[in-house]
């Protein structure tokens, strides 16, 4: 039996036997894209990143998002916009959570959750030792987001321009960068100053 298949497919051929010993062949064709479902990432560099100094490191109770997950003691560390979590004595993190497009909420005095917007049910829960610690973590996580920083930058840029007539990014030569553009045309032009 001959089969021609496109190059990105995998063919698995197996024989189905019967009690008389005659085999029949069956073939299962798998698209190789199914085999490539695991997203690659630069793991070594991420482990290296998880070792960078951080102000926000603490042992917290942590519960995963799946049904049946329980609270476990983990070493949680905030580095740039990633939340790494380690088993207490281990050097390499178990995992990393990207803190973008997520919602951080206070659950009660000692507890906060992080929900990732693609699925409101997909909440991670963290238990702190004090209300103060809880508040600090919530604040730090919100501020760590790249998107949060970008919004702040656009706000300050707009305000400074409005107050002084000057674009503060000009001196750095980055006024034209797409990522810093004021999104809804808020760049104020000065009122008619001809009477001046």
């Amino acid at each position: 039996m001959f089969l021609t298949t496109p190059l990105d497919t995998v063919v698995v051929v197996f024989s189905v036997g019967n009690d008389r010993g005659c085999g029949e062949c069956a073939a299962v064709v798998l698209n190789s894209k199914l085999l490539r479902s695991v997203m690659r990432f630069n793991e070594k560099e991420m482990v290296h990143l998880s070792r960078q100094p951080s102000e926000m490191v603490a042992e917290l109770g942590m519960r995963g998002p799946k049904k049946g997950d329980v609270v476990k003691r983990r070493l949680v560390k905030l580095v740039v916009n990633f939340l790494f979590y380690f088993k207490t004595d281990e050097e390499e993190p178990i995992g990393a959570l990207l803190l973008e497009q997520c919602r951080v909420e206070k659950e009660d005095n000692l507890t906060f959750t992080i929900a990732f917007l693609e699925d409101a049910e997909r909440k991670y829960l963290f238990v702190c030792d004090s209300e103060e610690q809880c508040g600090k973590w919530i604040d730090s996580i919100i501020r760590a987001s790249y998107e949060f920083m970008r919004r702040n930058l656009i706000f300050y840029r707009t305000e400074i321009h409005r107050l002084t007539g000057k674009d503060p990014l000009e001196q750095y030569g980055i006024s034209d960068e797409a990522r810093f553009q004021v999104t809804n045309g808020l760049q104020h032009t000065p009122r008619d100053a001809s009477s001046m």
Partner: protein
């Protein structure tokens, strides 16, 4: 180590701003050949897939702790991401043309979290300094070096736009040199701000709202159509002062050869 793949994927496909995207050739992880891939840069994450419309990501590169360098390669327009840590090998890329190479290098160099963080802190500081310069009276509070540079015609726009809530304290004297509206409009007697009684500066806390004060709110409720009238009033006031001065000078001087100002009209 797990990376929370769904969250990363979601971020790539979401509406959040894309800093740069386009085709690049990426050198394979194992084999030395370059593969053309579609790259999407968002913040400190460089995503890649086969085609722009593909739903599935092949992978993501987290751009922290690395720098970008031109590199030796058989491929033209090549550059690489280089980590300083031992054991972390570079990621090699090639752009389709020189312009692409330059713009990708530029974008990747400033993609890290720290760059944006520093930039935001810098602007936050400038913003606070701007507010301070606009609302502190240098006559009482000492020199504010930013005052002259920062003040602009936007000042009155600022004070008018804050619906009712206006700047506290008397106008810094440097504003009058810019001829922004500075005299109360309501009263029939228009006095220049220099003649206002000095008072302690009511310094506005940066984060708090601006409390209204009597004279200032009257000043700022003026509008542009009246400005030229204000300007004329000022001018008249100045002329009057010159006249008074000249008169007193004249009486003390024996001879006056040349007088630049014709005072006959003021006698």
């Amino acid at each position: 180590m797990k990376i929370g793949e769904k969250v990363v994927s979601y971020f790539e496909s979401s509406d959040s701003p894309v800093d740069k995207e386009g085709y690049l050739f990426k050198k394979g992880d194992i084999r030395p050949s370059y593969h053309k891939r579609w790259f999407v840069l968002k913040g400190n994450l460089l995503f890649y897939k086969d085609h722009p419309d593909d739903r599935d990501l092949i992978g993501v590169i987290v751009l922290e702790g690395c720098t970008v360098q031109l590199c030796e390669s058989e491929e033209q327009f090549a550059f690489s991401l280089v980590w300083s840590e031992l054991g972390l090998r570079p990621y090699k890329f090639a752009a389709e043309d020189q312009a692409g190479q330059e713009s990708w290098i530029k974008a990747l160099l400033s993609a890290n979290h720290g760059y944006l963080s520093l930039l935001v802190m810098d602007l936050e500081k400038k913003y606070k300094e701007t507010l301070e310069a606009l609302f502190i009276d240098p006559a009482n509070g000492g020199a504010t070096p930013n005052a002259d540079r920062q003040l602009s015609p936007q000042l009155s726009t600022l004070t008018r736009n804050s619906a009712g809530a206006v700047a506290a304290g008397p106008i810094p004297s440097s504003i009058t040199t810019l001829k922004t509206p500075a005299a109360p409009l309501k009263s029939t007697v228009r006095r220049s701000p220099k003649l206002w009684p000095k008072r302690t500066a009511n310094v506005t806390p940066i984060t708090g709202p601006c409390p209204p004060t009597g004279d200032w709110s009257a000043v700022c409720s003026g509008n542009w159509e009246e400005f030229s009238k204000l300007h004329d009033d000022f001018g008249k006031e100045v002329k009057d002062l010159i006249a008074d001065w000249s008169r007193s000078k004249r009486t003390s001087q024996v001879t006056l050869n040349e007088n630049l100002i014709d005072l006959s009209g003021f006698e």
